[in-house]
Assembly symmetry: C2
Homo-oligomer: 374 residues x 2
């Protein structure tokens, strides 16, 4: 069922227009992948979600495994039925959350100089897997490559991801290399577990190697020899966009042209402007919905901080160019009011707008590629 | 524009099927009136709201006056445009909130034996009006009958309400009588202010008199001599449903048959079972949305506390008889999960369901009246 077609290759860059076929429909690439961590987008219910043309959303196995439990989702008939979504879904392995909860995000980490942030949520990493404490009830949970795949089989997304270790940004060369080799072994075990019971799912290998270009190349070279259906790029790519650009410029040509490429956890416009011309097909990010809940709206005229007093009397749409269901119905003044009044609908409307902004932006990227402007 | 038609009078009780005509459409009565205090239902945005057949919603002048300000709503083109609602809206005078914030609700008050609860938000009540402290910024605001009407003109609802004093449940006879007489003068001034600039709005007189049947009768007799378009029953009607029933049984026959009757702030099923057979046409209540946010769902099989562990694996709709957009798409297990995961969409889905439950319930009351079963 899973297939990637390259429909058009830009004459100006490695950017391409593609189509990923999955059991739950197609994904036109490049495509933005909103995050629905716990089986719902934050503040956007399934009815609204079905009116946004999100061809792929990202759910997190870590959260779903801890609540309601992969077996509950299986009994519900799988994640699509459970969350009321008919279109494609991708899940990660659970690894990212386990490690990011332990180490914090890259930004926090850069600030904290690699100190483990908290709570010792990662108790032990062994060849077998990772032992961690559940953020929900403090119980100890062992996640192995096989268990991650088993959970992802029960959840039943269209695209799944092998268990990987997410090394912190501040990691010495030796530890990074050792982590990469273990991640490779975990990914191979994940792949084997997957292939013994495919269920129409696709699996993407995750390229690691942190900020070391040599390790990244080793990772790409090794993982592309395995029968994955596509590739994701994971872990830290550097401390800024310039470092990220250098890394992706080196790395992307090492990935097979005929397979989809996903950049994990990146969705800011600068990253898209770097990634798309290098041939990245899909990007997931919680940023548009998270910043929406803080009143930051993405518009064709730049970022709008809707809680600012000046918007109290702006009786026109947030973005006059936007055709989303919020902009056609509501004014900036109304959104400003809802935010100032702490109304939950503020978060819903802002999130819908920002998701639509991203989807429209990607549609423009596709047009730009088709017209060889990118 | 405003007109009330009695379409059918039950042969078994004073219950009737009616239709209220307003500049923004009709209201089929008896009808439930959800509360949209600050220009939005809590957790239900205008797009979802437009798919629920709420023929009337209740906005609160007190909140809208303090934020964003009646003048902002006027500049937006009125409350319908501002909140993106094409159907009828009713606003209150602001009086209820001022006094209820000062005295607390009836339940709290019964417990606290009438002690003023808080903050001295009511600073002074004079013949002119009520001086109170804004809950938003602590500034002093004087609300007079004329200012309340002026604000309600700017807000622009279809039905408005004169300024009244909401005496606490524990109030001596003399104070209650004095309060009632002042309320009558305030209502007459409100009516005069309204009639000097009608703008197609209707105004309901509010019957007061607390738990004293004689004062209630005096209030009904006096206010029904004034050219109001309908009547609301306000203030405390007693400490339980039995007291309320006695009071309404005495009071309702004193209200003109050819005008709509609204019971302020009551929407529990027991109150409906009392009020509808006595000829009450509309009921507003925040209860269905408030309890929804606490995981209490109203169903044909009684109340469901969705956060209970037993719902984790219930892969059927919350209410198999319900045809709301939540029940046709989602299971109890999914809603349980969203609540346990503290997802904002939990509150949205539960609120939509509860509102639909109330609307369906009222539709059944209308059928029961039509069939002389009520």
């Amino acid at each position: 069922m899973f297939k990637f077609e390259c429909l058009y290759q830009s004459k100006r860059s490695a950017a391409r227009i593609g189509r990923i076929h999955t059991p739950h429909g197609v994904i036109d690439t490049p495509h933005f992948v909103p995050v629905a961590t716990q089986g719902t987008l934050k503040a956007i219910d399934s009815m609204h979600a079905s009116h946004l043309d999100m061809q792929l959303v990202f759910c997190n196995t870590y959260h779903l495994m801890l609540h309601p439990g992969a077996e509950v989702i299986a009994a519900a008939g799988g994640i699509h039925t459970f969350m009321g979504r008919s279109q494609p879904i991708i899940t990660d392995s659970g690894g990212f959350q386990i490690f990011s909860l332990a180490y914090g995000g890259v930004t926090q980490e850069l600030k904290s100089k690699g100190t483990k942030q908290q709570h010792g949520s990662v108790l032990k990493i062994t060849e077998e897997g990772v032992l961690f404490r559940s953020y929900r009830d403090g119980s100890k949970v062992l996640l192995t490559p096989e268990r991650s795949i088993e959970a992802q089989k029960m959840i039943g997304a269209d695209i799944i991801i092998p268990l990987d270790e997410l090394p912190p940004y501040h990691f010495d060369q030796y530890a990074l290399h050792r982590s990469l080799e273990r991640t490779h072994r975990w990914e191979a075990r994940s792949l084997a577990a997957h292939r013994s019971d495919q269920r129409g799912q696709a699996i993407y290998g995750v390229i690691h190697g942190g900020i070391d270009p040599v390790l990244r190349s080793i990772s790409a070279q090794y993982l592309t020899t395995l029968p994955f259906d596509g590739f994701a790029i994971g872990g830290s790519l550097g401390k800024d966009h310039a470092e990220m650009e250098r890394m992706l410029t080196m790395l992307c040509p090492q990935l097979p042209m005929h397979m989809p490429r996903h950049l994990l956890g990146m969705g800011d416009v600068r990253s898209l402007d770097i990634g798309i011309p290098l041939g990245i097909d899909t990007f997931d990010s919680a940023y548009p919905t998270r910043c929406a809940r803080h009143g930051t709206l993405l518009t064709s005229r730049g970022v709008v901080k809707i809680t600012k007093g000046i918007y109290r009397t702006v009786h026109t749409a947030i973005d006059p160019e936007c055709t989303c269901m919020v902009c056609v119905r509501h004014t900036a003044a109304y959104l400003h009011h809802l935010f100032k009044a702490y109304e939950p609908t503020a978060y819903t409307l802002a999130s819908i707008h920002n998701i639509q902004y991203m989807l429209t932006l990607f549609s423009r990227y596709r047009t730009a590629i088709a017209e060889d402007r990118l």
